[in-house]
Symmetry: C2
Subunit: 205 residues, 2 copies
DNA sequence: TAGATTGTTAATCGATTAACAATC
DNA sequence: TAGATTGTTAATCGATTAACAATC
């Protein structure tokens, strides 16, 4: 299957909306509803569902319970979802205690830091010395890391994480990292998003 | 000019890389260099520059000093870059003290919160009651807000911000908000990014 | 049946890439 | 000059949208 990043992202959004509808007592949902909720067309919704083999009824829309089961299977909801946080400064600690993860079955299992005064192996989520990271990642079979380190240490750590077999990195450091076949990297650059927004807000159009 | 969001994002990246080169003593840069740095083709770089009227020399690449001046003009570096943070929980406070903004000339000038125990009008960056927000935004001519509130209060605040004349919202709440002609919205959904990454990391390909 | 909705095929659109001319 | 590089025009590609057939 050759799913694009965008279509997978939409799948996650569908899932979130459908869950909400289910909690409101809905049993069925139409492509029109989902399109409205995501701000896209209903054709796009049907195309996405079709691509992943999610089927509905010609008249009655899509069965919510069925779709949720299918989406969970596609998105791999039943799998191991452990992540580590690399760099336990302010942002790192914020993400370690971020409440939004649990709803998605994501669990931060450890943080790593190079500063000895930051280390706290007995915390609710342990913060360990970055030197212990290779062994930890191997032992615990960690696939995904969140990188929240200062700019100047980011390139080194990106390399190290890749060499440790990490398969995905959510990078908050203000350096542009590139995905490789073995490691998917997503860059979140908050300052750049804002800068970008200032442009659009003031653009002559 | 009909610049896409993506091309503007690339412009910001070019700027960052070129600044770095300048600090290393470089005077000129080639489209090949920039392409490598961003992980894109050199043709794309030249196309982007061409679109915004940035010119180089047939043999000698692009003059760094000239390009920086042009990029700053295009990206509006000289303008007012004040933002407010709406919702001063953990993530809100982290962003209020985020060090990555100053380099881009972005300044968080105030935070707003509904919880009285969170309010601190005399802090380095004041945290005010959310009731004072409409007046503050009007007086200070705030265009852009960062939204870091819980899911259930997000829809209301999104509406309020729009009605107060806010032109851009960087939304960290886990709801999908849609841009309107008067208000550009960027959603940053960290849990969803991770979920997405888990898919790609484990996808059969 | 008529109307509403899914699902697919074809058309469109925009962005990227290829090809190449211009020229330093 | 020859080689390297910019800048533009044409081709390609992928994603979205339109059109419409199928059917509940």
């Amino acid at each position: 299957m050759n799913a694009s990043r965008d279509s997978i992202t939409r799948l996650s959004h569908y899932r979130r909306v459908i869950f909400k509808l289910k909690s409101l007592g809905f049993r069925r949902v139409f492509s029109d509803n989902l399109g409205d909720a995501l701000g896209i067309s209903s054709v796009q919704v049907r195309k996405d569902f079709s691509e992943f083999g999610l089927t509905g009824n010609k008249k009655g829309g899509y069965q919510i319970d069925e779709i949720i089961v299918d989406l969970d299977r596609i998105l791999g909801k039943d799998m191991l979802r452990k992540v580590v946080v690399v760099g336990c400064g302010r942002m790192g600690k914020t993400l370690m205690s971020y409440s939004g993860f649990s709803g998605e079955g994501i669990k931060v299992v450890a943080g790593f830091d190079a500063d000895p005064s930051n280390i706290d192996p007995d915390g609710r989520i342990p913060i360990l010395d970055v030197l212990e990271m290779p062994e930890y990642i191997r032992k615990e079979k960690i696939q995904i890391a969140i990188l929240t380190v200062p700019e100047h240490t980011a390139p080194t750590l990106l390399e190290q994480l890749k060499s440790m077999g990490i398969k995905g990195i959510l990078n908050f450091a203000p350096v542009q990292a590139h995905s490789t076949p073995n490691c998917e990297i997503r860059n979140i650059n908050i300052a750049l998003e804002l800068e970008n927004m200032f442009y659009f807000v003031n653009a002559p159009e």
